[in-house]
Structures are given as structure tokens and as C-alpha cells.
């Protein structure tokens, strides 16, 4: 059975050339970058090259990249490190209800330390309200953390407007962006967007697991959250994951080489999948944007339940669909029987209910939230795979809908 992997927001296949390169680094350039001899110098040079690649993508200085043990590590360092460093000038933080747990749990940790956190609502498309943000910012606000691309519904925030607003309301407030799902999918220029801190991860972009990075803007001070040998300016201690760093940077470089055409291709696939299932009974598509009076290219628009929606302004690779009357887990395993791998929007069983915070925040009712699947594509996804997925859903959904728990 061929495999159709549509869970790329969970993790991605490592690009073969990246894996090859990492193997080479592990077996030939295994020195410790802190060592004084040439093996160490060699390894340090590899890290510097990686930083140059990433800095080129972000249009920043290579010294502004700090490597972490992944996206979670980068979010933790950004939020805990920045909030604590600025604790004397204020203890108010702002975030949104649809952030990744790496952000929300860091905020919770700070709440326990005496910080106050404002959690912004989002609308049905997953967008925060600029007015609400503006109102929330006070002279005490030291950090705003808002994600670039939502991992469950693919909502994109208007980061340019948000960055501008934050700095106009309080120039001292730092702006952190969790770009774990967005980096590698869009051009993100932190400086232009007034972003002070930006997190990304290796394994979401066809790089390895266990490595990520944090962009740290000029003049932004962080306190370390782990302690050790003083690597990376004492901010992120521990011997650098050289093969991981090399692999991540290489993977990023590969994606940004063909970013524009890939983005168009991913949008094509997104529209294709949605059109393929939109007419089925009980189908709801989450996170799309109503077209309204705008005139947009037809190939970027879909009609779902008589409403005209567009994929523009949403992430090209995340597709969230609810299938009323079927628990997501059941549909997931059914697709799995055909070799199609997807994610459940909300993990749930009779023993434990964990309705997704994002799906709740966009106003999806509980029963639809429990019937939501996330399809996430990658540059390796083909139209044929999407068609096979549509076929599988069209065949199996009606059968499953006959048997429901009541």
C-alpha cells in the first residue's frame, strides 16, 4: 500500500539530501564547537554557515540566531527569558487563546511567578482583534506573544499591523512570534514586522527533530532558562547540536529556494481537497475567510454550504475539516486503513475529553470539534494523493455516518 502522509504539521519527512548531509556531519565533522583544535573549529564553522543561511532567509544578522532543542525550547526561552529579564519594568503579558501549549504553558508558569497574562479572543477565522490588542497593551506590558500560523486551522495573523500597533502603543513592549508552523511556508522578515523574538523548529520543515532556533532582535535581553558551559552567549547552554543545526538550515534553504511556486502549488492542493469534499453531508471547513464583496481569483475560492470562502490569507498547508456525525478518531483510523495519515483536530475518548482550545476559540461546537480532522500537506504532496484522499473520504464517510453513538 502506498503511503499518503498528510500530517506534516505534526512532523515532516527529513529531506533525503538533508539526511545525507547530517550523516556526513555526524561521522566526519563530529568535533565539539567549543574545542580548541581544528575539529572544533570545523564544527564551529558549520554552525556559522548554518546561521548565515538562516540569517539570509530572515534578513538579519547571523549572531541573532540562537539554537535550541526545538520549537518548544525556543518558545520557552523567548517567553520566560524575555519576561523575566524585563520583570522590573512591568509584569503584564499578552497572548492569544489559540497559541501552542509551548507558549500557553510558559505563560502559565509566569502567572505562578506573579505575572498577569491577558489572553486575547479570536474570531471565527482565528484572527485576533486589533482593537482588543490595542486596549490590552498598558505601560506595564513587557511582552506580546502571537503565533504566525495556527497549527490546527492554519489561521494567519496580520503580523505587520500587530507589530506596528504594539510599538506605537508601547515601544518598550517586546513582540514574540511563534513561527513554528509558518517558517518555511512564507517569507518572514522580523525586522520589518517589528518582531523582537521569533521561534522556529527543524522538524516541521523537512529537517531533523530535536533542533529549533530563536531569532533575537537587536538590544533584546534574555535571561537563560538553563545553565551550563556558557555556549551561545550563556543564553542557551550545552554543546550545540551540530548535525541538527546544519540539517535544519539546509532544509530551510531548500524550502526558500522555490517558496513562491511551492506556495501556489500548496494552495492548489488545498482548494482541490476542499472542493473534493465540500458537497458531502455534514462537512464544515474551518479557518477559511469569507470572500464577501471582494473579487478574488476563482482558483483561490471555494463554496462550502452556499458560502463563498477563500484560502488566501490562510496557511497554504493546513486544512481543517469537520465531518458531522463521525468521531475524528474513527475517520482517522479508517483513512489509515488506506495508508492515509492525518491528525484529529481534538483528541478525545470516553475516558478523557480534551477539546481543542483553538477549535473552541473559533466557536466550533463540541460535537463538531470532536469530528474535526486536520490535513497538512508538504512540498512532497501530489494532486494524485489529494484525489486518493478525497476518494477514500467519499467512499467511507457515508458508511461511518450510519453508525453513530447517541
Amino acid at each position: 500500500m502506498t503511503e499518503i502522509y498528510l500530517d506534516n504539521s505534526a512532523t515532516t519527512m527529513v529531506a533525503p539530501q538533508v539526511a545525507d548531509r547530517m550523516h556526513e556531519v555526524m561521522t566526519s565533522y563530529y568535533g565539539n564547537p567549543s574545542s580548541m583544535h581544528s575539529k572544533g573549529v570545523e564544527a564551529e564553522r558549520l554552525i556559522r554557515e548554518a546561521s548565515r543561511t538562516l540569517a539570509g532567509i530572515l534578513k538579519c544578522n547571523e549572531k541573532q540566531i540562537i539554537y535550541t532543542a526545538g520549537g518548544t525550547g525556543a518558545d520557552n526561552l523567548a517567553i520566560l527569558g524575555a519576561a523575566r529579564a524585563k520583570a522590573r519594568s512591568g509584569k503584564h503579558l499578552i497572548t492569544t487563546k489559540i497559541e501552542h501549549p509551548a507558549v500557553l504553558q510558559s505563560m502559565k508558569c509566569l502567572e505562578d511567578e506573579g505575572f498577569t497574562v491577558t489572553c486575547l479572543d479570536v474570531d471565527a477565522c482565528g484572527h485576533i482583534s486589533l482593537d482588543a490588542l490595542s486596549e490590552a497593551i498598558t505601560p506595564e506590558t513587557t511582552l506580546v506573544s502571537i503565533m504566525h500560523t495556527n497549527n490546527e486551522i492554519g489561521a494567519l495573523q496580520d503580523l505587520s499591523a500587530i507589530g506596528e500597533l504594539i510599538k506605537s502603543r508601547n515601544p518598550q513592549t517586546l513582540f514574540h512570534v511563534d513561527a513554528v508552523q509558518g517558517f518555511g511556508k512564507t517569507v518572514i522578515l522580523p525586522k520589518r514586522l517589528h518582531i523582537d523574538l521569533l521561534s522556529a523548529s527543524g522538524h516541521k520543515i523537512h529537517g531533523p527533530k530535536g533542533v529549533g532556533f530563536l531569532y533575537v532582535g537587536e538590544g533584546v535581553r534574555l535571561l537563560p532558562i538553563s545553565y551550563g558551559g556558557g555556549q551561545q552567549g550563556g543564553i542557551q547552554n550545552g554543546t550545540e547540536n551540530v548535525p541538527g543545526i546544519v540539517g535544519m538550515a539546509m532544509a530551510a534553504g531548500l524550502l526558500y529556494e522555490h517558496l513562491e511556486e511551492d506556495t501556489e502549488r500548496l494552495y492548489d492542493l488545498k482548494v482541490r481537497l476542499i472542493r473534493g469534499v465540500a458537497d458531502l453531508t455534514g462537512v464544515h471547513v474551518n479557518g477559511l475567510i469569507p470572500v464577501g464583496e471582494r473579487s478574488l481569483p476563482e482558483d483561490r475560492c471555494v463554496t462550502v454550504r452556499d458560502e463563498k470562502l477563500t484560502v488566501l490569507g490562510t496557511a497554504p498547508h493546513v486544512i481543517s475539516v469537520s465531518f458531522a456525525g463521525v468521531r475524528s478518531e474513527v475517520l482517522l483510523h479508517t483513512l489509515e486503513e488506506d495508508g492515509i495519515y492525518v491528525s484529529a483536530g481534538s483528541a478525545c475518548s470516553t475516558h478523557k475529553k480534551a477539546t481543542s482550545a483553538t477549535l473552541t476559540a473559533i466557536g466550533l461546537n463540541e460535537s463538531l470539534a470532536e469530528s474535526t480532522l486536520r490535513f497538512s500537506t508538504s512540498v512532497y504532496t501530489t494532486p494524485e494523493e489529494i484525489d486518493a484522499t478525497i476518494n477514500a473520504i467519499r467512499t467511507k464517510l457515508p458508511v461511518l455516518q450510519r453508525y453513530t453513538r447517541n
Binding site: 478518531e329 482517522l332 483510523h333 486503513e337 470516553t350 475516558h351 450510519r402 453508525y403 453513538r405 447517541n406
Partner: protein, 405 residues
Amino acid sequence: MKKSLFHTFIIKYAEIGIKGRNRFLFEDALVDRVKNALRDMAGTFYLRKTPGRIFLEMKEDFDFDEVVERLGKVFGTVGIAPTLSLEDEGFEKLAEQVVSYWGDMYGDRMNGEKPLTFKVNARRNRKNYPKNSMEINADLGEVLLQAYPQLKVDVHKPDILLEVEIRDRIYVYSEILPGPGGMPVGTGGKAMLLLSGGIDSPVAGWMIAKRGVTLDAVYFNAPPYTSERALQKVVDLAKIVSEYAGPINLHVINFTDIQLKIYELCPHEELTIIMRRYMMRIAEKLAIDSGALGLVTGESIGQVASQTMASLVATNEVCTLPVYRPVIAFDKQDIVEISERIGTYETSILPYEDCCTIFVAKHPVTKPNVNVIRRHEHNLDEVIGPLLEAAFETDRVIRVGEDEE
């Protein structure tokens, strides 16, 4: 306890000591179980059977705690005594060794306010030993009192009972770690356990195995409604039970189609009862085919709708083999306590949906009428034959608790 002193364990058994002419069968089974329990331990060991005892001698460096933990899971043992195994070099030498042993074991317990009391209990299996048991008791007691004047003898309720067994070698022990009791698995026939992913059925299996019964098990799998992880959880549970019960043949039966047909053709509030009737039928067939003499379930009166007495009547009537329900009169908390003790609890509470809960009705019948159930079951007459056949086709046997991994 100074664990490094010991290279020998005496494994004591009680109940099987009284089985008359079948005794050797029980002892052989116990030796077998001990061997199996220690099978992948580092180092070599020797097992020796003598009447009433099994001697385990570890030959190389070994992990005392691991041996004790594993022996503690062998049904049929009532006690495990870490033992000194000494060569007979005369009474003088024995006295010296006992004094030194005492110091190592109880050196730090002799300085309390109340004097530590003891009694020597010698047994002379080798009748040519120059002293008889009474003399050994008196003389060793004397030696100990001289060496440790703070000790006192108490022949009725001693704090420490020092056992000395004179055989080809001399065995000295004073601590007996409790064994699990029961009967060696393999002496009581075989039973088929209906294993779900819950708390009760592994405990039920464990209890029946404790009576010497070999277990096979059946799990009803319902993909895509239940996941790969739910099956893995059941395999993990069977594995934990097999640490006590020995290897288990776990049958995995795909039950989805039968379940869906029942859902389609029978009243919804009777779904669980009818489903359980088919599970019993399938389990019984597997049991008979594999030579098992009974079914085992984790049912407990009134715990859920399908376990009221009326429901049990309805599920019980489809089989002719006895159905053993060892936790039938246990409160949930009692079952939980056993599952914690035997190590299944943590796995049982992992939140994967099992086949019993997917289509459960909001208000299932609690007092099913058998006649009504039978009548509704007839709705399946035209389809159930092939469905059952197909279900048996899916039977996949996973051998759990052997070194296959």
C-alpha cells in the same frame, strides 16, 4: 538486611506440600515456574528440589532485588528465605559463622532500649551430625548470647527466629520474604480470559492464575473505532499478567462487523448485552478449541449496566463452560488495590477507547429479560453465521510473556 551475604534462596511452599501422591507434579511445576521467572536473568543459577523446599543457588554476581521481585511473582511459594549456605567444617566453625552473620544482619538493631529477642530453631535432616536439634538450639543460643550480651532468648515470640538446617550443607536463615501463595501455574488446567483494556479483567486473570490455572486470553478489537494503541495496551496488560501467569496466548478477534450489525438490527439499549453474548460465544469456542476448561471475566455485580445480576443471567446463558468471575463480589476500590499491587493499574487507566464503550447507549437496560433479548437476537439470524465465521478468520494469536521480543 545485608543482601551481599546471600547467594542462596530457600523457596518455601505450603499448600502443594499436602497434595499426596500428586505432589511431585506440583513440585515440578513450581520448579518450572521458578525457572521461567528467572529465565532472562544475568548469571547462572542452580535449582534443587528437596522435600518441602526448593533451593536456588546463584552462581555469579546477581541482582538480589531482582531475584526477590521475580520469585515474589511465582504462585505456589509462600516464602523466600535468603540463606547462608555453609560447608560443614565442624560446630566451632558454624558457631563462628553464625555469630558473624548475626552481627552483619542485626548489628544495628541490638542497641535499642528493649533487648532484641531470638530463638534458634535447628533441624537435623542429616542424622549423622554429632549434635541433635535440641543441642544445636541450646549451643548456638549460648554462643550468640556470649557474643552479644544485649540479646535475650524468647522461645514463644522471638523478634528473630534463626533457622538452621543441617543437610549435606548447612543452611542458615532468619528472614523470610513473603511469597504470593497460591498454586504453581500449570497445575490447574487452562482457562480463557476475556481481556479488555480495563482494570478488572487483568485482576480477574491474575486471581485465577494464582490457583494454578494457565491462561489464554481473548481481546475483541474494533478497528477503526479502536486504535492500534488500544491493542498495544491490551498486549502490555497481558504481558504484566504473564509475569505471574506464565506465557499467554492472546487471541485478537476483529469484532467490528458483528458490533455494527447488532447496532443496526437490535434495540440500542440492548446492544451491550447482545454484544457481550456474542463475545462469550466466541470466547467459549476459542476456549474449547484450545482445551481450556472455563472462561474468566472481570465482572463484578452491579458495577455497570451489563453486570447486574439480571444482565449476568442474560450473558451467562449462552455458554456451557463454567464462567469464573473472581472479582464478582469485590468493590471497585478493592479491585483497584490489587491492580496497583500487581502492576496493571497504570496501564489499565491509559485513555484508549475499548470495544465495549464505542456504541454504548445512554440508557442501557439494567434488567434485561432473557426472552426479549433472545427474540431481538433473532434479528441477526440471517447474517450472524457468516459474520461469526469471518470473525474467527481474523483470529490472530499473539504469544505474550516469552522471549520472542
